[in-house]
């Protein structure tokens, strides 16, 4: 067993007169990791984070922070600090006093206090900004101040509630890299709440995907994307084509399937399926290829291009396949420089794939 800093032990949260925001969730977060809670709004991720911070209390279960049961510990006595979605920079204080806010009680000498704050300002690359007021900072700067204010307390766990949501795209991407570097540098466990799956994939060591108060899957970014454990995770992370398939036969490694429009095809089998089962075969758009000449071997299906979108580095195609209602999405890298129109919509194309790219999901 590795070193667990936060153990969420079958925690439920029921708000008065409302549905369960969090429903028997069990998650172990390891010391020093960048852990994300990912899900659409209303999935319970923020409620879970607020329970770790001590702003909400579980109606069932217990949260252990560094081995200590936390139910009876109020937020101001927990070894956690939070970066709020709105940043919550105190408007009546300047940057220095904002960062020093949580240190006043520590009984530091004023020299030590300014040293710690200056250190924090340097860490967020805002040295010399101490005298600025909150309203004289840009969104990105406020976000950094909120980060410094929390980290200067040297918490065991830093909680981040969609801290990049209010920033524009470019700044957000910069901050993602910076946050990740900072986390490595300080070595503090980060628990990061986001609804942005790309953000979660690019930053996290591990991600818990949540939906309607439940944790669906906890895994590293690669595993979540390449081996989702259910249809909901598969469709939430990235885009995916789902094929309603029937299992024809199962061998030790392979399953023979049949789906509308796709005919018979094979895929790597999973545990617990047998002939006659209805399941989903899923495949990511970039795992499919298009060709205009009929392949002589391998897995393929014939279709007509319904629409194409050119995105510079890649193109997205919607391909209609006879017998299947929804078009199949194919993402093709534009590897060669070409100004031609691409595929001819009046002629058939062939969608090909490697059978290993198919993900089987029980319905």
């Amino acid at each position: 067993m590795s070193d667990i800093i936060i153990r969420i032990d079958n925690v439920s949260k029921q708000f008065a007169g409302g549905a369960k925001a969090v429903d028997s969730v069990a998650v172990d977060i390891e010391r020093g990791e960048f852990f994300s809670l990912l899900g659409p709004s209303g999935c319970g991720k923020t409620t879970l984070l607020r329970m770790i911070a001590g702003f909400e209390f579980p109606t069932e279960g217990e949260i252990y922070i560094d081995g200590q049961p936390s139910s009876l510990i109020p937020s101001y006595k927990r070894p956690t600090n939070m970066v709020f979605q709105s940043y919550a920079i105190f408007p009546h204080l300047n940057v220095f006093d904002n960062i020093a806010f949580g240190l006043r009680k520590a009984g530091l000498s004023s020299k030590e206090l300014s040293r710690r704050v200056d250190e924090a300002l340097a860490m967020i690359k805002l040295s010399g900004f101490g005298k600025r007021r909150g309203d004289q900072l840009s969104g990105g700067q406020r976000q950094r101040v909120a980060l410094a204010r929390a980290l200067v307390k040297r918490p065991k766990v830093l909680l981040l509630d969609e801290p990049l949501g209010a920033l524009d795209k470019k700044l957000r991407e910069e901050m993602q890299i910076e946050l990740r570097q900072l986390q490595k540098q300080v070595g503090i466990t980060f628990v990061f709440v986001t609804h942005d799956q790309e953000e979660a994939l690019s930053m996290s060591d591990r991600i818990a995907v949540m939906s309607r108060g439940d944790v669906l899957q906890i895994a590293g970014p690669k595993e979540l994307y390449e081996a989702p454990n259910c249809v909901e995770v598969a469709t939430f992370i990235g885009s995916i084509n789902l094929i309603n398939a029937t299992v024809k036969s199962v061998s030790s490694s392979e399953a023979m399937l049949e789906g509308p429009g796709f005919g018979s095809f094979t895929a790597q089998t999973i545990e617990g399926i047998k002939a006659g089962d209805k399941i989903f075969a899923a495949v990511r758009p970039e795992k499919l290829s298009l060709t205009i000449s009929k392949p002589s071997s391998g897995a393929y299906v014939e279709g007509m291009i319904k629409a194409s979108a050119y995105l510079g580095d890649r193109s997205h195609h919607q391909v209609f396949i006879k017998g299947r209602e929804e078009p199949v999405a194919v993402a093709a890298q534009n590897e060669e420089r070409a100004m031609s129109a691409g595929f001819d919509a009046s002629k058939p194309v062939y969608v090909t794939w490697n059978p290993k790219s198919l993900i089987l999901l029980k319905s």
């Binding site: 109020p74 101001y76 969104g139 209010a166």
Partner: protein, 277 residues
């Protein structure tokens, strides 16, 4: 003539009409009040045109009138105490209404605000009956009790909008950074609510200071200033003195109200700039 120009001209006509209306409205509001300072310098005991000549003797007479000064002191004292008490109640009420969800919240809020809409004469009579029932003798204290009842809704209204206006995660951030709820109030809530608190103090003070009906019912031997003025109207010789004090109060009220509004605006614009875009 092209259409946009015609339209602009019509708009101009409407604008001129509105200007006339606005000026007439302001004159209607303020000219009667302006008679107070004018007649307070008029060298005649009768309040009538034409003006006779400039004098400051009414001001001298005013400062010599001990009863009037006592009434002024009583009003200032009651006003100050009432302002503090109703603002404290207002802060507590506003904090509860804006920060906690509780059963019957809407009903409780409406009940707190209700005295704003109950005719004062009804409040006055019912309080008088109640106070007599408890055999409490009428005094400035009973006036103060009535005024607190009247002023608390004003304080609530000012402070609720102030507390609603700032991000509640500011208080959470303070607790998260290790401050107890009590210290959070003093380090975050109070300084942020300060403009609202100042404007509530000024507003409730003014409401109490010029309140007549409740004071009239509830005052004992020591009248408040408005009650004293009313009683002096029977003596024409004293009227100019009343005018000069009235003029002084008018000017100081204006300054206070402008100051209160300025402080309130100061608070809200600062807040707006701080909000996340």
């Amino acid at each position: 003539m092209s259409k946009p120009i015609r339209q602009a001209k019509r708009m101009g006509d409407a604008g001129a009409g509105l200007t006339v209306f606005a000026v007439a409205y302001l004159l209607f509001l303020y000219v009667p009040v302006l008679f107070l300072p004018i007649f307070s310098f008029n060298d005649s005991i009768f309040i009538a045109f034409p003006l006779r000549g400039f004098t400051t003797k009414w001001y001298e007479q005013m400062f010599a009138d001990q009863d009037m000064l006592d009434a002024l002191a009583a009003s200032l004292k009651v006003g100050a105490i009432v302002a503090v008490i109703s603002t404290i109640l207002g802060v507590l009420g506003a904090k509860a209404v804006t920060r906690y969800r509780m059963p019957g919240q809407g009903a409780v809020t409406s009940l707190i605000m209700l005295p704003l809409f109950i005719p004062e004469i009804i409040l006055g009579i019912s309080l008088l009956i109640l106070i007599n029932g408890f055999q409490i003798s009428l005094s400035l204290i009973t006036v103060g009790i009535g005024h607190v009842m009247l002023c608390t809704p004003f304080a609530m209204a000012v402070l609720t909008s102030r507390l609603d206006g700032f991000d509640r995660s500011l208080e959470e951030a303070s607790m998260d950074l290790g401050e107890s709820p009590w210290m959070t109030f003093w380090r975050v809530t109070f300084p942020l609510a300060a403009p609202g608190i100042v404007s509530s103090l000024l507003l409730t003070f003014i409401v109490s200071f010029d309140e007549f009906l409740l004071s009239f019912f509830l005052a004992g031997l020591q009248p408040t200033l408005p009650v004293y003025f009313w009683s002096q109207l029977r003596f024409p010789a004293k009227l100019p003195g009343v005018l000069s004090l009235g003029a002084l109060i008018l000017i100081s009220s204006c300054i206070l109200v402008f100051f209160a509004e300025w402080v309130r605006q100061l608070g809200t614009t600062g807040e707006r700039k701080v909000g996340v875009a």
